[in-house]
């Protein structure tokens, strides 16, 4: 299957203003959003509900008009184009399949509108249904399909028109947990195979991590951080980002000294050296981000602690321990052959110093 050349998407200082229905005050749903999405890449807009991610996606699709800024698809400005004139195809949260059409007619809808000759429609629909593994289901009505199958039809319907950019609006949120994991691998596989540009909206951080080339984390209409899943996970720019992506310990620390961007700080009674992206000086109070899985618990060690919660989670043992006055969360992986500490026991913790990441203390 030969898709057209994928297109890049560029948002330049795009804002959208909504009115609060209660207070009647205007507020920025999306504020000064600048994005440059390379052709063929998979980017995810991630954030809590109301962060502006869906609004951004809908502006790209054309359902909402930006109040400031300009959106480009490839090199073409598309602000004034209606959704049906844009080279985008969207997969909706509710699938939005046409209930009065069967699978074939659903998938063929966009092709018929483009006046593609009948034999070619038949061929392309067949190919795409093969790709999403729905061969043989052409004559089924959509309500005779399972949720996962409906999702595949929706995906096929969007893919078959070979759009310059594919848009996903939380496409997996109506599926059960297991199917969700399976489908996201599937989506990624297909996107890679076709080399198509994709913008994906979700509030599920693990989905975002597993699927994207680049994650854009938003809050209250503002982009908080942009980067690869790895960057976002290990180098969050602030507490919000760190906390949104996975479990986190925020440990207060005091800076002892700084040299060539390497900072020495004392945290829960132990000195660590971390790289810092911004200048700090001795005496500053900061925070160290430490992922729970980077901390180990043992019978012997340097930093004493007391266990206050011990909980078996299957793949790991979840502990909450007190180090002095500080609560530390620990995820001890693969606990099957390890000593399990019970609530009330004393123990010691250690952590990999490379995993520590310095944040400015928020006020």
């Amino acid at each position: 299957m030969s898709a057209k050349a994928p297109k890049g998407v560029r948002l330049e200082h795009v804002s959208k203003i909504y009115q609060d229905p209660k207070t009647k005050k205007n507020f920025y749903a999306v504020s000064d959003c600048c994005l440059d999405i390379r052709p063929g890449s998979f980017i995810t807009l991630l954030g809590p509900s109301g962060c502006g991610k869906t609004t951004t996606l809908r502006m790209v699709a054309g359902f909402e008009s930006p109040d400031e800024g300009e959106i480009y698809l490839g090199d073409e400005p598309i602000n004034a184009l209606t959704p049906n004139k844009r080279d985008t195809a969207m997969v909706f949260q509710s699938y939005a399949l046409f209930p009065h059409y069967n699978v074939f007619d659903n998938v063929a809808y966009g092709l018929k509108l483009r006046k593609v000759p009948k034999p070619e429609i038949a061929r392309r629909v067949k190919d795409i249904l093969e790709l999403v593994e729905l061969t043989g289901m052409e004559q089924r009505m959509t309500n005779q399909l399972s949720g996962g199958q409906q999702q595949r039809v929706a995906l096929a319907r969007a893919l078959v028109v070979e759009p310059g950019v594919l848009l996903f609006d939380e496409p997996l949120s109506n599926l059960d947990a297991k199917l969700r994991v399976q489908m996201r691998t599937e989506i990624r596989r297909i996107q890679q195979k076709l080399g198509i540009t994709a913008i994906y909206v979700t509030h599920d951080q693990s989905e975002a991590m597993s699927i994207s080339d680049k994650i854009i984390l938003m809050r209250k209409g503002i982009i908080e951080q942009m980067g690869s899943p790895h960057e976002i996970y290990y180098h969050p720019v602030n507490e919000f980002v760190a906390d949104f992506i996975g479990e986190c310990n925020f440990l207060p620390c005091m800076v002892k000294g700084s040299e060539n961007g390497v900072v020495t700080a004392s945290v829960i009674g132990s000195d660590v050296q971390v790289e810092s992206d911004y200048p700090v000086k001795a005496g500053d109070m900061c925070k160290i981000v430490l992922r729970p899985e980077a901390i180990r618990i043992a019978e012997k060690g340097q930093i004493p602690c007391k266990v206050i919660l011990s909980c078996f989670m299957g793949s790991y043992q979840n502990y909450h321990v007190m180090v002095g006055d500080t609560l530390v969360k620990i995820a001890d992986n693969c606990p099957v052959n390890k000593r399990i500490f019970e609530v009330g026991e004393n123990a010691f913790i250690s952590f990999e110093k490379e995993c520590a990441h310095l944040l400015k203390a928020s006020k």
Partner: protein
């Protein structure tokens, strides 16, 4: 912070869609010319005449007349009483259907007939049967009870007839509301120790309260706007609608009639605003979502038996009233000579141009109904699915028409079009023709169609149309390939409702019809007023047969061409599930006792 760019982009996108823009412009023109303009002219005429200039004289004169003040009092009194009675009986019926176990075939049939009859019958046939059953020569009063001077004309006649006519509407409203109450709430109350009575007074009733207010006001508006019933059975008991009619046809006082019409309009408008913008939102707020599980029906005999008997009696009474009409057409002389005869039907066709009357009514309604159905679907589509500046106006005007009594609209049309628009002669050519009758039919049925279209469209996930739009379909294509097929059932029923409403309409029509058109309803009214009940009944019987036929046809049509097979299959499954749940519930009860 400025939303200017977004707004102008939205406007640009809209303008890039010529079909949509044309539709909106035509729609606005239609609503303005045929709803807003005639009402505006009424207001002008009520305050202004070329002789006196701007004046309050017409109002002063009207209010100075004792007859007019009495008519206002009468109208409000009847509206309130009919509203209360209809609401109560409607609630009773709905409660029995949804809550009480009365699963006999006979009862189910009775309920169905009661909900069906007012839909298919002309609005005023009950007045006929009331006179024939309880009037001076009534079967019940004269022949069963031997009362020779019973007068049904006046206050009680109107109240009984209107209540019987309007309570089924309340019944349907309450049925929808009650089905949406989650049984878990009542079970929670029962579980905490409340008696059935307490459950009703502390949970069910408060939840229904806004709905009750809503039903009351809807009936109130219907009652005070009703023209034909007070005309036939009112006798000397005048209401506003009949007074206005007499003012313009009898006294030929146009400005006075306008002033009175404005008074009537203001009353219904106020009621409508309260109902629409206050109560309806409240109803929606308290009763959202669907019942999560099947309700345990009340089997307790002390509750079920009296409620069932009461409902059956009322239902039977209504059915007897309606049954009276065909018999009235078959008896030689009602009240004296009960030999069967076809002479009335013969006279209808031979002497009184029956064929022409039916053909005229049928033809005009048949032209009006598809236009109405399509217009109301387009309006609902625009209101629910699109955003543009004039949307508020379109929605407001098409809903407002619901609160305009037919008599008021009729006067507005006389004043607005008899001399052309603004007395310039523009559109004057439609006055007195079939076109203006068709337009009146459309305007009168538009609000009901729009309302059902809006609720049907709200059920449809917005993203289904968005996805069609996104795939490259323009608005016309989206509407024809996605929206219309999805609301096909609503469209079809809108078609039939519009047809039935048109062919049974009278209040506005009677003011506008010219001798070149014979309409059935007008004939019925004429013969009923003259006291030729046999002829009136014969006309009415044939009319009921036509409307019932149309409804049957629609049901057949929906069954075979409506919602897709699989959808129906799903519905069947759901019904089966409910049946099984009910059966299991019964078995549980047996096991317990």
């Amino acid at each position: 912070m400025s939303v200017h760019q977004g707004k102008s982009l939205d406007r640009k996108k809209l303008m890039g869609d010529p079909v949509l823009v044309t539709t909106i412009v035509v729609l606005i023109a239609f609503l303005t010319v045929f709803i807003v303009y005639p009402l505006a002219i009424l207001l002008v005429d009520a305050f202004y005449s070329s002789d006196t200039g701007v004046t309050l004289d017409f109002f002063r004169n009207s209010f100075a007349s004792f007859a007019f003040r009495r008519a206002i009092g009468n109208t409000l009194k009847i509206g309130a009483v009919v509203g209360l009675l209809s609401t109560f009986i409607g609630l009773l019926f709905a409660y029995v259907e949804v809550y009480v176990k009365v699963r006999t075939r006979f009862m189910a049939g009775l309920f169905k007939v009661v909900s069906m009859l007012p839909v298919v019958s002309p609005p005023f046939v009950l007045s006929l049967s009331m006179i024939m059953l309880f009037g001076k020569a009534g079967i019940v009063t004269r022949h069963l009870l031997g009362i020779y001077d019973n007068s049904v004309y006046g206050y009680w006649g109107i109240v009984i007839v209107q209540t019987m006519t309007f309570f089924p509407v309340c019944y349907m409203m309450f049925r929808g509301l009650l089905k949406n109450i989650d049984p878990s709430m009542e079970e929670a109350s029962r579980d905490m120790g409340a008696s059935r009575m307490k459950v009703f007074t502390s949970v069910t009733f408060p939840l229904l309260l806004p709905g009750i207010g809503n039903a009351f006001l809807v009936t109130f508006i219907e009652s005070i706007a009703d023209f034909a019933n007070p005309m036939i059975i009112g006798g000397s008991y005048d209401t506003l609608a009949t007074t206005i009619y007499l003012q313009i046809t009898g006294a030929y006082d146009k400005n006075g009639a306008c002033a009175m019409a404005v008074v009537l309009l203001m009353i219904t408008m106020a009621m409508f605003v309260v109902q629409k913008y206050y109560l309806e939102s409240k109803t929606a707020a308290t009763l959202t979502g669907k019942a999560s599980r099947v309700r345990m029906l009340i089997e307790d005999r002390s509750v079920a038996v009296p409620l069932t008997i009461l409902c059956s009696m009322i239902a039977l009474f209504v059915i007897i009233m309606y049954a009276c009409v065909p018999f009235g057409a078959l008896f030689k002389t009602w009240g004296r000579d009960f030999t069967l005869t076809t002479k009335w039907f013969e006279q209808v066709f031979n002497r009184y141009k029956g064929f022409k009357a039916f053909w005229d009514s049928f033809r005009l309604s048949l032209i009006a109904s598809p236009i109405t159905a399509l217009l109301s679907m387009i309006i609902s589509y625009l209101v629910v699915k699109r955003k543009f500046k004039a949307k508020g106006y379109i929605e407001l005007v098409s809903m407002l028409a619901m609160a305009v009594p037919g008599t008021v609209l009729g006067i507005g049309y006389i004043r607005g079009f008899a001399g052309g628009m603004f007395r310039t002669g523009f559109l004057q050519s439609i006055y007195g023709t079939g076109i203006i009758l068709v337009i009146v039919f459309i305007v009168r049925s538009l609000p009901t169609g729009t309302r059902s279209g809006i609720s049907a469209l709200r059920q449809i996930d917005k993203s289904i149309e968005e996805s069609a739009y996104d795939m490259g379909a323009g608005s016309l294509k989206v509407f024809t390939s996605v929206t219309l097929p999805l609301i096909k059932d609503s469209f079809l029923s809108g078609l039939v409702t519009a047809f039935v409403r048109s062919i049974t309409a009278i209040s506005a029509i009677i003011l506008l019809v010219t001798p070149s058109y014979l309409l059935i309803t007008v004939q019925i009214n004429e013969f009923a007023e003259k006291g030729s009940y046999g002829l009136a009944c014969a006309f009415a019987t044939i009319l009921i047969v036509i409307t019932y036929g149309a409804v049957l046809l629609m049901n057949l049509f929906i069954k075979f061409f409506g919602t897709s097979r699989s959808q129906r299959h799903a519905d069947k499954e759901e019904k089966k599930m409910i049946r099984e749940a009910r059966r299991a519930q019964g078995q549980e009860k047996e096991a317990l006792s």
